[in-house]
Symmetry: C2
Subunit: 397 residues, 2 copies
């Protein structure tokens, strides 16, 4: 299904290519080129082991100069690959630069695949000319498909906004069956925008928007060595966004990232459900976040949701060990809108009957009140399933 | 198999009974009575939601008076059951007190089962006289079997030591297919000793010994609402342990608890392997523990070990997100004694071939060096398997 409804921001050309980095017979190398110098933004993994492409991309972004391209490979993550990994990464940029007439410093790299594997340089040398010759022939869905690893399908989102009477388009793609998956390895997301935005503003917008989107999504709690989110804003729409209009653009960016974050959790490895875990009533957002993450990472809560089991005891027990201080008798827990636990004991509702149908759904609301404080936090988490085990016990073999 | 090799400490009598708390047709109510007033010790869950029997046992221990009995039921955890739960717990102790001639304050209660379910008081009333009539007829294995929930088999350990030329026996039993399992709910462990020990010394010995045994074992990271470890020391051997001899007794206690902790992880829900995760070279033990727990709770590491996959990248990635500060290039990781990762990249060994056979084993050593500091920590963790998901997605249904 070619996505007529998924527009590509103006002034960008896309290419994909089957380079043979993986055994599977589909494209594994992708290129995005902006026809105009673009403001770059990047947000990266906080893992101490940062992959070579993460280190190189951080360096290129730190220069603050306009950027022109992003190149993404699957198959090898180029993480934990030492100095050879860094050299290889730079060589791939030199290959792309030579074929496109750009400078290597104008290109951002991203890699995903098995940790510890070096890039297949011979395959790169053979593939890059063909890749660059394809520029402009790929659509958004082709790009979203070519960056996939264990993803079940391509993840795309777009938003438009009107500024100065003109339409600005933001196009986003993401990969990762899990926000947070070091093995395969990585969440990678690209956002292309055809407005012109001052670089520092563009970066600040990304740093803020990830806090309420990608950083509130979890599959398995394992932060990747390669997580990378890139933004390019190239001005092709003829609109320069500044002043108050920046908030309009930021809302559109947040919309795109929120859509992509949801899709990551929805397609979490083996996931059958998206858990929307909201914690309210704490003094600080950090406390609400800590409680929400403890629930969202509890294997017992995740398996109960997979089993369509209204096992509120597991939610309560996770809260009790979360390290967040609260009065147990003040806690209220509801599932799919049904209040299950308050005043230190279960409500008298026949919740198994009430929840039978709601728990069949794919979006499950877990609403928790810990007290009367002003803060709250919402986390998206996946459930934990037999398929998760199959995928991850057999990944390399 | 009646365990001729599992001795019961002197001066204790055991009873088990089928009270009908659970559907299954096997004993679900157990009683331990000491023929002599015993020094009591207890270590309990740190979960903010403490079950009624935990609160009652803490209160009885806090009195500091000699204790005489422990009563344990399965089926209902009596956790998150409000004031009625507390009243019911006290009523069960009154029933046992009446039938044995003891005072309720001399008895410690422990419950395990589904959270939020009230005790079945009618069944208790009918069962207690029969239970008490059985005193002395059950062996250590009967007791260890009657306290089981999802455990695959009874968990027992014993140690003896010679003090003043006499033999002291410590008998331990435990339940919990997971140190840490709030749903079913709980780790419960009892240690019976026929030495006389001053109460404060006996308690201090337990508080120290759990740090290097039970607290270093994990299945799923979910701390129970009911975790309870009880110790009774009744002096039936005629030996009073004091002064330097205390260290001999403590070593025997640590031996018993270490055996039981290993058995808990070995029988972790769905587990096929015990991971021995040792982190060395940190400045503080807390840092080594944090790193070890991050690895031991990583779903990706646990599934890789289940899949017999030498996927060291997942171990390295977990270390990198652990929050412990270290120099990535100083890190060394070996699996089953084979060095896989050092100086920021994989060693050149053909580790898949080297590790094929070792990874078939049930005990897997993961040895990690993070730097040159003096501290270290070892954690026992289970793997994560299809059967874990089956057990926990279907538990209540």
């Amino acid at each position: 299904m070619k996505s007529a409804t998924m527009p590509l921001a103006g002034g960008f050309r896309l290419a994909t290519f089957r380079a043979g980095f993986k055994k599977a017979n589909h494209p594994d190398l992708s290129l995005v080129v902006s026809d105009f110098p673009a403001a770059g933004a990047g947000v990266f993994t906080t893992n101490l082991f940062k992959a070579a492409p993460v280190l190189v991309a951080m360096k290129h972004l730190a220069k603050g100069a306009p950027l022109r391209a992003i190149v993404v490979n699957t198959g090898q993550a180029n993480a934990c690959t030492g100095t050879q990994g860094l050299e290889n990464c730079n060589k791939t940029l030199a290959l792309v630069a030579r074929a496109t007439g750009l400078s290597p410093e104008e290109i951002l790299p991203a890699s995903t695949g098995v940790i510890g594997a070096q890039l297949k340089m011979e395959a790169w040398e053979k593939a890059v000319p063909g890749l660059c010759a394809n520029l402009g022939q790929a659509g958004v869905e082709d790009l979203a498909t070519a960056i996939m690893t264990t993803d079940k399908g391509p993840k795309m989102a777009a938003a438009t906004c009107e500024i100065e009477g003109k339409t600005i388009t933001l196009t986003g793609v993401a990969k990762g069956a899990g926000m947070i998956c070091p093995n395969m390895a990585t969440m990678i997301s690209l956002v292309l925008c055809d407005a012109a935005v001052e670089r520092a503003e563009w970066q600040a917008m990304f740093s803020r928007a990830v806090r309420t989107t990608f950083n509130r999504a979890t599959v398995d709690g394992d932060t990747s060595t390669n997580d990378s989110l890139f933004g390019l804003a190239n001005g092709a729409s003829g609109v320069t966004v500044q002043g108050e209009a920046l908030t309009i653009l930021e809302a559109a960016l947040e919309d795109v990232l929120a859509q992509l974050a949801y899709k990551l959790v929805e397609d979490g490895e083996g996931a059958t459900k998206v858990l929307h875990i909201t914690v309210r009533g704490t003094d600080t957002e950090a406390a609400a976040e800590q409680a929400a993450r403890t629930v969202g990472h509890s294997q017992l809560v995740k398996t109960a949701m997979y089993g369509k089991d209204a096992n509120w005891g597991r939610i309560v027990a996770a809260l009790g060990r979360s390290g967040v201080h609260f009065a147990p008798e003040a806690v209220r827990v509801s599932l799919c809108g049904v209040m299950l636990f308050e005043k230190g004991q279960p409500t008298s509702l026949d919740f198994d009957a009430l929840l039978k149908e709601p728990l069949e759904g794919t979006d499950i609301a877990i609403d928790i009140v810990l007290g009367s404080g002003p803060a709250e936090y919402t986390l998206l988490a996946s459930d934990l399933t037999h398929e998760y085990i199959s995928i991850n016990a057999d990944y390399r073999s």
